[in-house]
Symmetry: C2
Subunit: 207 residues, 2 copies
């Protein structure tokens, strides 16, 4: 693309550096901002700059936070004896959006993946152990990806917690609500049969 | 989506205000910027703020410009007797990217569309007349959308220029290179037969 303005070109290149944004979409965004009031564009750039400059990571659960302790960890109304172990921020947002979980979180920052050079030291596992040992955590709910790496991470963490009296659970795997049996993969289908539930539980799950 | 950080939430909402960007994509962009160095994010917000604050519109052709006169109008190596009339910046970028056109442009800022309340006063037609009258323009190449509104605009402008000795042409319509005849719409196909070219022209067009 040939631009006749360096200002436009620079802005397009910056947008095109975002994931999944090509030059044409970047140009559309720049032309959109060009039509907006200066004050609106200042609000746009201001919110992003403020976010990057002021964001902190919660010293307890490692979630992104506006303060030393994140809103969730600081909330006395939540169940501090329950900690849901997840990979990253995206998982927290997904679970929070269900509005069904009232415990805390612990963000590992990834999962064990020796091929990618991610061992236990690269993850927030030591701080999880400290939390469980010192803060009266009674249950760790493992909510990791249902992959070999995810399962390995679950087993590794379970072994690390052996000396502590904490119960470890994992979120249920199975056929999604509305999912068609014939399209489910074999492993999920097999596990959902093995871990079948009495009908009363099914009714209460549906709420 | 439920965020546990106001900083993240504000940034996501700003991105989600861009055309074609939903909340999930906005979140992906924010998390991407969160992983970047502060300096990189400052470069991102800086380029956008600078673009919006410093952009000017060329006083001759109305294109976006870094200066009073845009790069194209200021370029003495271009043919100032030829002016291509387009709707907007996007069209200029498309034509410039072909690297085949060496004249100047004139941006109307839209096309005549009475239903949307866009009459001749809303478009840069008076300044086009002045340019032709005062700056020795010999040819106006109309490159507007092949729609009823586009055609109406072409006829309106042609009538406005009647008192001036300027030749008015329109870009060729026809079957696109690589286009399949059977998929062409009837009007395009009919016009491309009516406006058929001697074979020599065809060869020189390809070359």
């Amino acid at each position: 693309m040939v631009f006749s303005s360096k200002l436009i070109e620079d802005a397009v290149n910056e947008f095109a550096g975002l994931p999944g944004i090509g030059k044409k979409t970047a140009l559309r965004m720049v032309l959109h901002l060009l039509k907006k009031d200066v004050a609106d564009v200042d609000a746009f750039t201001g919110a992003i700059a403020k976010m990057r400059h002021e964001i902190k990571f919660c010293k307890s659960c490692h979630n992104v936070s506006d303060n030393e302790l994140c809103e969730i960890c600081a909330n006395k109304g939540r169940n501090h004896a329950q900690v849901c172990v997840v990979e990253n921020i995206r998982d927290v947002i997904a679970i929070e959006s269900t509005q069904q979980y009232n415990g805390l979180y612990h963000l590992l920052g990834g999962i064990l993946s020796p091929l990618d050079g991610i061992g236990p030291e690269q993850l927030n596992i030591a701080t999880l152990h400290d939390r469980v040992a010192q803060q009266g955590v009674e249950e760790l709910i493992m909510a990791l990806s249902p992959t070999i790496e995810g399962d390995t991470t679950v087993y590794y963490i379970a072994r690390q917690m052996k000396d502590l009296s904490v119960s470890i659970t994992t979120i249920a795997r199975g056929i999604a609500f509305g999912g068609e049996l014939e399209y489910a993969d074999e492993m999920t289908l097999a596990r959902s049969i093995a871990k079948r539930l009495p009908i009363e539980n099914y009714v209460s799950m549906k709420g």
